[in-house]
């Protein structure tokens, strides 16, 4: 079966993907202003400081918004529809949001602000991907 595309790590984003393979969310935290940022960036989005540290953050958050995808536009989606793509507001910082897929639930179970937690699932190429499930 076709699969969703495999992520090709950007130069500078490798620690995030390595973290996934270790089962943790690892984000950049600015050494100057202490803000976490996402997507990975070569300089602080908030203060332009260059120094940062990759830090493991809690894999919990709430659903900021979502869509139930019913029309497969990619070969990898055939046989997977319907599936739920979510934007997660991570608990680690109020304005930190990432895109992922919600698993282990039916589309009609999804509600705004529902608490979620990360669960890792391997892409067929071996890279672990951070997916989320409802915290029940």
């Amino acid at each position: 079966m076709s699969t969703f595309p495999r992520p090709v790590p950007e130069y500078g984003s490798e620690p995030f993907w390595a973290g996934c393979n270790e089962g943790v969310l690892r984000f950049q935290r600015c050494a100057a202003c202490q803000k976490l940022r996402w997507h990975p960036a070569p300089i602080c989005t908030y203060c332009q400081a260059e120094d940062c540290a990759w830090e493991t953050i809690p894999g919990t958050g709430r659903i900021h918004t979502w869509t139930v995808i019913t029309h497969p536009v990619h070969p990898g989606a055939v046989g997977k529809v319907p599936y739920v793509v979510v934007e997660i507001a991570l608990d680690a910082q109020s304005d930190l949001r990432m895109i992922s897929r919600l698993v282990e639930c039916e589309p009609d179970e999804v509600t705004m602000a529902a608490p979620v937690e990360v669960v890792f699932e391997a892409h067929p190429d071996g890279q672990q991907l951070p997916l989320f499930r409802l915290r029940r």
Partner: protein, 390 residues
Amino acid sequence: MNSISDRACIVGIGHTEYSKDSGRSELKLACEAISAAMRDAGLGPGDVDGIAKYTMDNNDPIEIARCLGLPSLRFFGEVAYGGGGGPVGTVMLAAMAVATGQAKAVIAFRAMNERSGRGTPRFGQAMVADTAAGPMSYLAPYGLFSPAQMVALAARRHMHLYGTESRHFGAIAVACRHHANLNPDAMMHGRPMTIDDHQSSRMISDPLRLLDCCLETDGGAAVIVTTPERARDLRQKPVFMAAGGLGGGGWNNRFMVRDIDAPDNEATVAGRRLFADAGISHDDIDVLFLYDHFTPMVLMQLEEYGFCARGEAKDFIGDGSRFLWPHGDLPLNTSGGNLSEGYLHGMQNIIEAVRQLRGTARTQVQDARYAFVTAGNAVPTSAMILRGEA
């Protein structure tokens, strides 16, 4: 003189038919549309010396110049994010080129075989690649590929924050289809749509339904821009750029995933100075051309360009009858728009805006003086106010 206001005007318009399969090359589509626009303006090859293109357009400006026999190009440039961000932006590039005297008359065009896929891949089919790099590496591995899916996230958020409903999106689709049915050139001419049709159309990416999404089209469309001084000697009544703006920002750093909770976005940036530069208010706008890739994005533009307050678009729209020519007070996309006329990345909306301000539209708004025209939001965008001569 600190803005583009009144320093450039559109003097020629041209387009091919809009179809599912043009049966000819994208280069031929571009040449046909541009040639028609030059004839409309009454300009010959020696009079036109610039080309502004969409980044995504496959046609090479110098190849177009060769085919059309343009002896000298003194300006060429392209608008990034075009695509949907390009329609007004290309006209603005052309306007800036003529306003500064760098060129005499500049073409802005879009031509593609997007529906047949003969040259341009179908956008609705998304990326079939098996790898995702750059910003897409944080989206596609989870199954988020297409523009429709990305804007669905923002649509859902808007519904949650403000109580917007699918029928408000539907009212926009119905208005565009209404106008397409008054336009024999529209792809959806002869195919009426009711709000019930919209509500029963299948889900694509909930809450986006099929009828919330624009068409896919083969075709070409072009306009010619020159200075007001030069325009006086030409065939057509000039349509002036009363104000124009481009907008983008760090909020757009995730492809078309949009942060609608933020106070500013690409549309608020593009729109910030428009009304002040034009010296008019929103009430002065006679006809609206809001880039209609997806209906929720049109609804958000009403708020973000200040036609109503944030969250109030649902009340502004109501049942949508205000958008319908001839009785509505604010007719929207009067030739059918990207949703129902044809999807030439908004260039066909600009052409219709020019017709309205010349007084030659099929759905002519009485005494139309000002048109508000936008490029697509959810990508870096552009917007302008066009003015016809009194």
